[in-house]
């Protein structure tokens, strides 16, 4: 399911689900131009699981999906109910307390 959230067309374009079709087209053109010129600001987009790389192909696929009313309905369903986006990747959960990873070798065993 993560692809439905992190690859959501609204997130790829950096838009709210309420925007009109004209705004979508305008934003897509702007992003494609900036990507072609290599602007650093548009190379990634924020998702609930942290930033993801943005490509011209992903932008074109996103705008194409949002032109179709059914696909936009599904994209809105995910985008409206997804958790807030994060600028950095989430911290991993600390699990069992582990000794040093080289213990096996130190005790005479491999690998």
């Amino acid at each position: 399911m993560a692809p439905n959230v992190v690859d959501n067309p609204f997130l790829v374009l950096g838009l709210s689900p309420d925007v009109s079709r004209i705004e979508i087209e305008r934003e897509a053109h702007k992003l494609l131009g900036m990507l072609e010129l290599g602007f650093a600001d548009v190379q990634t987009y924020a998702t609930p699981l942290g930033p993801r790389p943005r490509t011209a192909e992903a932008v074109r696929a996103a705008v194409a999906a949002l032109r179709d009313p059914y696909q936009r309905l599904v994209a809105e369903l995910w985008a409206r109910h997804a958790p807030p986006v994060k600028a950095s990747a989430p911290v991993e959960t600390a699990e069992e307390s582990r000794p040093a990873p080289s213990l096996r070798r130190a005790l005479g065993w491999r690998p």
């Binding site: 399911m1 959230v5 009313p69 369903l77 958790p83 989430p90 959960t93 065993w109």
Partner: protein, 499 residues
């Protein structure tokens, strides 16, 4: 005549070590002290005798004396400290050879494979493999040797699986089992799997080497066992064990790191920056994302995500919101139902993938996601098991004969897959999976016993099928497997009476 006391001490030394392998109480320390003292006496006396012979010019006898009488009591230390770290495969083999008179090749091959695992070379592997393949039928040492060869290749999963599988074998070389037990104990310590190590210690599945015994003590303290060793006892175990410098840090209690959780917040409700259209959906999406970001998802977390999705997808608010937006967007007829089906399918696919990866069962939730997930997991696992067992048994008819160790690996892989599936799917899946495993397993066990003379391998399959038959209450299977298990199993350590 003069050698008699020496031979008696040598025998006593072996008896003390054998007795230690059967014990995990205060006697362990007593036998360790006795064995250590006797080994020192043996080594000093033999060294003095060898020196005397050298002095009078009988140097061939002095060398023979060193090899026959000095090396055996010192073999554990020589192997661990010199032959293994230097990767001296053949030296480790011959040193191990003189330790035991009872099927001496078994332990010797393990020592050679241990040395190879530390410094692997193609020539070393070929030499060990050739010696291993000559040993037919299959026994526990061939399994442990193969595991150590896998360790040499850096394949830790295969090593772990094979080391664990040695305990299924009825043939029992205590020295070989001690090596397997130590590798598993060190592996568990490396992974921080203290509960697993403690469970293994309680069941006394393997004889404990001094290092294993120390790590078991550490595990007992870390899992808050009923009777963990005290400070003094743990320090005594540490003193007995090798590699004290490396294990010193385990004497200290672990510093418990404050739990840091990668929690994913749900979409904000009223007053938030972006208001969710349906109240139940954000919870479902957040629970699902959190589950997918956890390294080891739990059944509770899976159940929470499934329940949240079931509630969200049958929620009237979701349907109403979708219908309104479909109208506003001019979506085609039936778009609402199609969207709900599509979301349920995507969610089920992803949850099934996560559950499979973590070997989790289907939670008892009923709804579009809960029912589909239960169906998917049950059918997927049953299909995979049935095709695995069928492929295995077909080899009997196609005449495709494999090396005994490969037969063992295939069966161990199937057993592991079966156990993972039934532990996730519960008794219901176990009852559905057993008949197929039983019919194919019995057929293979009979073939391996009658046509291939692989008695211990066949017995291991029958013993496992009997355990499973008892778990599902299949009386006919219990009767047949019990008859098979009662057959005497010829092994290199003598016939093992079936039970």
């Amino acid at each position: 005549m003069y050698a008699l006391p020496f031979l008696v001490i040598m025998r006593l030394h072996r008896l003390a070590l054998d007795a230690r392998r059967r014990d995990r109480t205060w006697r362990y320390y007593a036998y360790s002290v006795v064995a250590g003292t006797l080994a020192a006496i043996l080594a000093v006396v033999a060294l003095l005798a060898a020196y005397a012979m050298w002095e009078v010019g009988w140097w061939p006898l002095a060398i023979a004396m060193l090899v026959m009488f000095v090396a055996p009591p010192l073999q554990p230390v020589l192997s661990r400290r010199i032959f293994v770290p230097l990767g001296l495969v053949r030296t480790a083999f011959w040193a191990g050879h003189f330790v035991s008179m009872d099927d001496s090749d078994a332990y010797a091959l393990c020592c050679a494979a241990w040395a190879h695992a530390r410094k692997p070379t193609p020539a070393g592997e070929a030499w060990i493999t050739a010696r291993r393949d000559k040993r037919i039928p299959l026994g526990d040492s061939e399994i442990v040797v193969t595991a150590l060869l896998a360790a040499g290749r850096g394949d830790v999963e295969t090593t772990r699986q094979l080391m664990r599988s040695a305990s299924y074998m009825v043939e029992n070389h205590p020295l070989v089992r001690e090596v397997a037990g130590e590798w598993l104990a060190v592996d568990a310590a490396e992974r921080g799997a203290w509960a697993e190590l403690h469970a293994s210690a309680i069941s006394a599945r393997y004889p404990a080497s001094a290092l294993t015994y120390f790590l078991e003590g550490v595990a007992a303290r870390r899992v808050d066992a009923k009777k963990p060793p005290g400070d003094f006892e743990l320090r005594a175990r540490w003193l007995l064990a090798p590699h004290r410098r490396a294990t010193r840090m385990l004497l200290r209690e672990p510093a418990v790191a404050p739990p840091r959780s990668a929690t994913i917040e749900a979409a904000p409700g009223e007053g938030g920056a972006r208001q969710a259209a349906v109240a139940s959906l954000p919870r479902a999406v957040a629970a699902h994302l959190e589950l997918s970001q956890t390294r080891k998802p739990s059944l509770d977390a899976l159940a929470e995500a499934v329940t949240a999705w079931d509630a969200a997808l049958v929620d009237g608010e979701t349907q109403k919101w979708l219908a309104r937006r479909a109208l506003e967007l001019d979506a085609p007829l039936g778009a609402v139902d199609r969207a709900i089906r599509e979301v349920a399918l995507a969610v089920t696919d992803d949850l099934a993938r996560l559950a499979d990866a973590a070997s989790l069962g289907a939670p008892t939730a009923h709804g579009p996601v809960g029912d589909a997930l239960a169906r998917r997991l049950r059918h997927g696992r049953l299909d995979a098991l049935e095709s695995g067992f069928t492929r295995w048994e077909q080899r009997r008819h196609t005449g495709s004969v494999r090396a005994p160790i490969d037969e063992w690996r295939e069966w161990v892989a199937l057993r592991t897959a079966y156990e993972a599936a039934v532990s996730a799917g519960g008794l219901e899946l176990r009852r559905l999976a057993f008949p197929h495993a039983y019919s194919k397993g019995t057929s293979m066990a009979v073939w391996l016993w009658n046509s291939r003379n692989e008695y211990a391998l066949s017995h291991a399959i029958s013993a496992w099928l009997r355990e499973e038959a008892m778990a599902v209450g299949d009386t006919e299977a219990i009767e047949l497997c019990t008859r098979n298990c009662k057959l005497n199993v010829p092994t290199r350590t003598g016939d093992v009476r079936g039970a």
